[in-house]
């Protein structure tokens, strides 16, 4: 059985999750602080990919990065970068598509932390950055894990956007979800089942990991 679609999916999901971790944690923190109308706009933009059908997102990305016009033409002519029908394009699309899956749970976790623990850290002379990494982050590690899993899984299952801008190219944009769709359409049900099973197994492994981690960090070992 051809395993490249699975590898491609895993690579895509991993890279996307890493990018979103680096990007999402600070943004989520910033959004969780005092609200303003400017933040509202940013938050709305971050939320967009959630409500936008993947087909729409794919459509706009297609228009934006099509070598026929605007940014795509420019990238193409001056840098020879192609963001449609390429793996790089899928990464960009996935980052946009999965953005709210990272940001939304983290924002909520930050907002629920008691303000007093950050204050305690400030009184100990710690800067905002130190407090952020030493106090806030460790105390929402559970949520960070959950958000990462959500992001990873969501990217693994990405379909509509890839269908639109991926072009189903083996070893480049033919990820597992598309391979399954393809197999089903070609009535190759054994391949479809095989790919589905592998994805199933991966989810299971993820869930078990999270479960064990959470058990370890359980609330009150005393009761």
């Amino acid at each position: 059985m051809d395993l490249t679609p699975i590898w491609l999916s895993l690579r895509l999901a991993l890279i996307t999750t890493l990018i979103l971790l680096v990007l999402g944690v600070p943004v989520a923190y910033w959004l969780s602080r005092k609200s303003s109308w400017f933040k509202l706009v940013i938050e709305a933009l971050v939320t967009m990919p959630l409500v936008l059908p993947p087909s729409v997102l794919g459509f706009y990305l297609l228009l934006a990065f099509s070598p026929n016009n605007g940014p795509g033409k420019w990238l193409n002519e001056y840098f020879n970068i192609h963001l449609v029908f390429s793996f790089e394009g899928l990464i960009l699309a996935s980052v946009i598509y999965s953005l709210p899956f990272m940001i939304s749970p983290l924002k909520s976790a930050f907002a629920h932390l008691p303000t007093s623990i950050a204050e305690a850290s400030y009184t100990m002379g710690k800067s905002h950055t130190q407090t952020f990494f030493k106090i806030l982050i460790p105390n929402i590690s559970g949520s960070i894990l959950t958000a990462s899993v959500l992001t990873f899984a969501h990217t693994l299952g990405e379909f509509g956007v890839v269908l639109m801008i991926g072009g189903n190219i083996p070893n480049q944009t033919k990820v597992a979800s598309i391979a399954i769709f393809d197999a089903v359409e070609q009535m190759d049900y054994s391949s479809a089942n095989f790919y589905s099973l592998v994805l199933f197994a991966i989810t299971f492994a993820i869930v078990v990991t999270v479960f064990i981690f959470n058990k370890h960090a359980a609330k009150n070992p005393f009761e």
């Binding site: 623990i117 204050e119 400030y122 009184t123 100990m124 002379g125 460790p138 105390n139």
Partner: protein
């Protein structure tokens, strides 16, 4: 000299109340801040630490301006070099007793000394949720001392400690403050427990 002159508005059932403080505190000494429940002790300590901003006023510490609302000056909490013992402890849920202390200092000798001072040696690997009320409170005092603060603000810091423990802890703490040249403001409803600890008294 710590000079404080501030006004803060407090929301009330109907309308707002004005909370006004104007006073000086001696440096290098311990001042007992007293006042009925709800008088504003916590609020005052938080304002001095820079955790709450008053609407009007100024605060200076030995000539250094910490707050001046007319000139829009405001020294951030970190730069004030204070220690704070919170009324509700505000411990870090993710850290063990030992980690709380190492977060404030690299000085292992100081840490060891503080653990002994607070009789907390046996609990170094426990997290806040695994500590009794009094153990949590002691940890919160020790943590505030790790940074060798210029000014130690303690909000009802002994309320969960038993008499015998307090009788040992308070004098030791006093010696440590003198050694560190730390000024101290402490709010409590139990003036007795500050006998020999507080040098001055301020009623809100």
């Amino acid at each position: 000299m710590i000079h404080v002159h501030i006004t803060k508005e407090i929301k009330r059932f109907k309308g707002t109340e004005k909370f006004l403080v104007q006073t000086d505190f001696s440096v290098g000494a311990v001042t007992h801040i007293s006042g009925p429940s709800g008088a504003g002790k916590t609020t005052l300590l938080r304002i001095i630490a820079g955790l709450v901003k008053p609407e009007h006023g100024h605060i200076t510490f030995e000539g250094e301006t910490w707050l001046n609302t007319t000139e829009n000056l405001y020294l951030p909490t970190q730069a004030r070099k204070v220690g704070f013992v919170f009324q509700d402890y505000a411990l870090f849920p993710n850290m063990t007793v030992k980690e709380h202390l190492s977060f404030g200092t690299k000085d292992v000798e100081l840490i060891q000394r503080l653990l002994i001072l607070g009789k907390m040696e046996r609990f170094i690997d426990q997290r806040p949720r695994e500590l009794s009320g009094g153990q949590q409170q002691r940890l919160s005092i020790l943590r505030a001392l790790t940074t060798r603060p210029r000014l130690l603000l303690m909000d009802e810091p002994f309320s969960a400690l038993d008499q015998a423990l307090k009788a040992e802890l308070v004098p030791d703490l006093k010696l440590l403050l003198i050694e560190m040249k730390t000024t101290c403001l402490v709010s409590t409803h139990y003036p007795l427990e500050l006998k020999g600890f507080a040098d001055f008294y301020f009623e809100l």
